[in-house]
């Protein structure tokens, strides 16, 4: 019998009180969890990021896994704007796919980023987002 934990917003805020993390540099969220149509609570990430005290914190990473690149959903950049109002950060678009999918995936991710920039959805950032590639799950594929 499998049971699953479904937390309330208050429980999640309590669990993810990040104030005591002294070395935290980066907070990662997947594209699917911050997209319109997901069970998105726009205030939740804002409230979580406002608990960060680490002097090393500098970036929020938006992770694109392979299915994220080809799904038609749009990402709620309003969530990031809210987060940025609480704590300044550099936004990183991160591609997390296997080596064989990197080239086409990187093109799609870059196009999405450029589109969002032309739509002025990222104009709250001090500098344009950076792009990076991660190895992804070594067991996938």
């Amino acid at each position: 019998m499998l049971t699953y934990l479904v937390e309330t917003r208050e429980e999640m805020l309590k669990d993810f009180d990040l104030s005591h993390l002294r070395s935290l540099r980066s907070l990662e969220v997947t594209a699917s969890s911050v997209s319109h149509g997901s069970r998105l609570d726009p205030d939740l990430l804002r409230d979580i990021i406002s608990t960060i005290n680490s002097p090393m914190f500098s970036e929020v990473v938006l992770v694109f896994q392979r299915p994220d690149l080809y799904r038609p959903y749009s990402i709620s950049f309003e969530t990031f704007r809210e987060m940025h109002s609480k704590r300044k950060f550099r936004l990183v678009f991160c591609l997390e796919v296997l080596k064989k999918y990197r080239n086409p995936g990187f093109q799609v991710m870059r196009q999405r980023m450029e589109y969002e920039m032309t739509q002025r959805r990222l104009n709250f950032l001090e500098s344009p987002p950076t792009l990076k590639i991660s190895e992804g799950n070594p067991w996938a594929g």
Binding site: M1, L2, L5, V6, D15, L24, V29, L45, W139
Partner: protein, 313 residues
């Protein structure tokens, strides 16, 4: 008479031509063989660093690597560690001769098992196939030759079947194992702790869909099992649908704290405890939004199974 001399001359000429062609053919094939031999010698004598650059480029492309290794014996030797780096043991209903633990015998005979760095034990059926009954004396000897495995993944691992004495089956992974991944596995917190405690150099842990288990003696102070070793646990912790906090408390107590640098937590009971334990070391945190959802959207066992099947296909 003139006709006879002409015929004789024609025959001699024909035979001479035939011999010349034969000689040329032999000379030509000998030359080709010499050229091929020279080329083979040249390629075989490529500097090791050049070979390594070529292999680094091919290491993710198994078919090209196989072609590369067929060039000559020295290239095969260079490619062998990469060709046999990953081993997958799984059910193969269509080919029982290569199913489950059967490939081990051949690889053992060819002395290739020490090359395996990444071992994946896959299970697509509901009933886990991996059990102590699969290990006869010979198979256990073959399995124990996998001494350099750094990454181990087991799907549908029923830990209780290997208790007590799990070290007999998995203890040989201890010196090299850095990363363990368990998917839809089952057992008590104490059994999971016993498994993790086998590996002193373990850095990364990934556990997906670990079912709720009955409370065991692990959390009750004096009854806690003494671990075989304290894993370093300095890498990544990835947990998905993990509804037991007990194991974290015991890990902190018995392993002298946690030192993970990266965490990926999705629907985990005890997130706060984990974050507090790694307050000085945690650099990267991945979180998922899991706000309350309706009853029908709560993931079920079938969801977990379908997710696994989808990733393996």
């Amino acid at each position: 008479m003139r006709v006879g001399i002409g015929t004789l001359a024609h025959t001699v000429l024909f035979q001479t031509k035939a011999r010349t062609n034969q000689f040329n053919a032999i000379r030509s094939s000998a030359a080709e063989a010499t050229i091929a031999e020279q080329r083979r010698a040249q390629t075989a004598n490529l500097p090791q660093d050049i070979l390594e650059i070529i292999i680094a480029d091919l290491c993710d492309d198994t078919s090209s690597l196989k072609t590369f290794s067929a060039t000559c014996y020295s290239w095969y030797l260079a490619a062998a560690p990469y060709l046999h780096r990953t081993l997958t043991l799984e059910e193969r209903p269509s080919d029982p001769t290569r199913a489950e633990l059967k490939p081990l015998a051949k690889l053992y005979k060819m002395n290739l098992l020490p090359f395996v760095k990444k071992l994946s034990i896959r299970c697509l059926s509901f009933e886990p196939w991996l059990s102590p009954r699969k290990f006869d004396r010979q198979t256990l000897r073959h399995f124990s030759a996998l001494t350099n495995v750094q990454q181990l993944r087991i799907e549908r691992f029923d830990l209780s079947k290997f208790m007590p004495g799990i070290e007999r089956y998995f203890g040989h992974f201890a010196p090299a194992l850095r990363s363990i991944s368990l998917t839809i596995s089952s057992g008590t917190s104490r059994q999971l702790l016993c498994l993790l405690a086998l590996f002193p150099n373990l850095d990364d842990i990934e556990i997906e869909y670990y079912p709720t288990t009955k409370p065991d003696a692990t959390s009750s102070g004096s009854e806690v099992a003494v671990p075989f070793s304290a894993p370093s646990l300095k890498g990544q912790l990835k947990l998905t649908h993990f509804p037991s906090e007990t194991i974290f408390r015991d890990m902190i107590t018995l392993f002298g704290g946690l030192r993970f640098r990266s965490m990926d937590l999705c629907s985990v009971e005890g997130s706060r405890l984990l974050l507090e334990a790694c307050a000085d070391t945690l650099q990267t945190l991945r979180i998922y939004q899991a706000v309350p959802c309706s009853e029908e959207s709560v993931p079920t066992f079938s969801d977990a199974y379908a997710d696994l099947s989808c990733r393996n296909s």
